[in-house]
Amino acid sequence: MRSSVITSTILHCVVLAWAILSISAPASFEVADVEALPVDIVPVEELTQTQQGAEKAEKKDVSAPIPTTRPQTVDNAQNIGDNDVDLKSAPTPITKPTNVEQAAAPEKVEKVQPKQDNETNDVKDVQQEQEVAASEPPPPQEVAKAEPVVKPEPKPEVTPEAKPEPEPAPEKPAEEALPTNVPVPEFKPKQAEAKPETKPVEKPPEKKAEEKPVDKKVEPTKTASIKSDSKSKDDKKKQETAKSKSSKESDFNADDISALLNKTDAKSSGAKRSTQTASLGTKKSNGGSKLSQSEMDALRGQIENNWSIVSGIDGAQGVTIKVTMRLDENGDIIGDPEVIASGGSDAARRTLEGSALRAIMKSRPFKGLPRDKYDAWSEVVVNFDPSQLL
């Protein structure tokens, strides 16, 4: 026995020694010295519902737009701005007028042609008409137009005419307007032969028939087209395009545009003036409106004041009434309010629904609802517990 006691003691000593050596003090937890972290509960409305203010101003408790500069002109204006008209649109920054020169579109000679267009868009016809219109002009025109049609013939005819260049010149002075135009186009075209012929011939009749001053400016284009006349097919195409253009641009007038444009300055929306210093916010109030509890209670109170509840309805305990109604900006009800009762007995529900509806109809229009929060109460749900009104 003694030996076993000694053995046991030795065993324990060994185990204890091992435990003392190995199971030393555990490493102490070194907690980093962190400052208290404040935690706020932020309703999501704070992020999604913004208030009108200045986009680049400092943040303040209450956001406010840039103060207005002009005196108030409109009574009961709701939207802040320098405008004379109370509009809801967000103010737009004033843009400096860019230096755009709007050249008046050249008035086309073809202006006249729309008349012709009405009938046909066919080149040949037009030409024929022109011919008819200018019936007075003698053979030269006929020759010019005959050229495209009958190729063999024109050559001999043209050449004789082209050669005597001096001839057109004397003609022009007599016809007044044309002199300047004629020489310029002449040089450009390579086929000198045809041009001299045509221009003198065609222009005189047209100008006489139509307005002369207009013609002068546009003449170059016409002359160009006339130049090409010598080559039949090209000519026709050009004429066609010219006519279609003219039909599209029918009555464009740059002067009219400026008159049509609304020149009112859209820099700011509303007519309500603000003197608050600008603070951070958005261009427009964005659903930041929510009926406060007191406003909601005021609405409920208006209905409850007009609500005469007959006491002693069996099973009225536990009836709750939910009223959904759409209101216009004056607080009046649009359409029929929806009254839903739940709980309680069937009869009590029906009775209370009816009395609630009467109370609502009696208390319209509702007063004291903030106009700027119309978004919030345009459709409003009010809950009642009639048992508390008994």
Binding site: L11, H12, I20
Partner: protein, 239 residues
């Protein structure tokens, strides 16, 4: 208060540190439980060795006994030394037998009874020798956790008194006291668990060995009774 907190914070939380900081009662409990643990293991080792030896001796003796060797001869060799177990029972029975015949006992019934009685006494002594100190194992096993718990309760009481004194519930003030108190329970469990296991094992072993001795005693009693009959019959016939 600040100083107390600082002192508490510098507590030694190692095993030895916890023990040294513990209160007097808790220290006493811990030392007592440590002693109990030592005692438990001492008994366990002792029993293990003894039971193993006893089993070997039983086997040896049975082998010799059933080998056909003369019982007189076996008795002569065994009676000269101290015997345990089966050998002790055999020797006691043979001694009674010899005494009775040397004195010239006449009654076979009385002889049988005396031999049985002698064997019972020896068997009781031997079995008591086997289960000796097992009861202390049982005590340690059942009381150890309670003793440890007592130390823990005392320790926690003192540590709560310390909290009241320091007027601070800082964990640094509370923790060391609770840790040292819990150490008492831990030591109690360390002592009790092996004690319970050892008790169950060795009491079972002792039961088996005792049953084996009883079986041998009965068998030997039967053999001796046959011998008595054989020896007394010729005498009766001669008369």
């Amino acid at each position: 208060m600040e100083q107390v907190a600082l002192e508490a914070a510098t507590h030694d939380v190692s095993l030895l540190g916890l023990f040294m900081q513990a209160g007097f009662v808790v220290k006493l409990v811990m030392i007592g439980l440590l002693g109990a643990s030592v005692w438990t293991w001492a008994i366990a080792i002792d029993k293990y060795v003894n039971f193993g030896r006893a089993r070997r001796q039983f086997d040896q003796f049975e082998q010799v006994f059933w080998s056909g060797q003369s019982l007189e001869e076996l008795y002569r060799t065994l009676s000269e030394r101290q015997n345990h177990g089966l050998a002790a029972i055999f020797v006691s029975a043979m001694r009674e037998w010899k005494k009775s015949f040397e004195r010239g006992a006449r009654s076979p019934i009385g002889l049988q009874m005396r031999i049985d009685r002698a064997m019972d006494v020896t068997l009781a002594r031997e079995s008591e020798h086997l289960i000796a100190r097992l009861s202390s194992l049982a005590t340690i096993g059942s009381a150890g956790p309670f003793v440890g718990l007592f130390g823990t309760v005392i320790g926690i009481m003192t540590s709560f008194q310390a909290i009241a004194g320091s007027k601070s519930t800082n964990l640094a003030v509370v923790a060391p006291g609770i840790a040292e108190a819990l150490l008492a329970t831990a030591i109690g469990l360390v002592a009790a668990i092996p004690a319970v296991i050892a008790y169950n094992k060795f009491s079972g072993d002792a039961g088996k060995l005792t049953a084996r001795m009883e079986g041998f005693a009965d068998e030997f009693s039967a053999i001796l009774s046959r011998q008595i009959d054989e020896k007394l019959q010729p005498r009766a016939a001669a008369q």
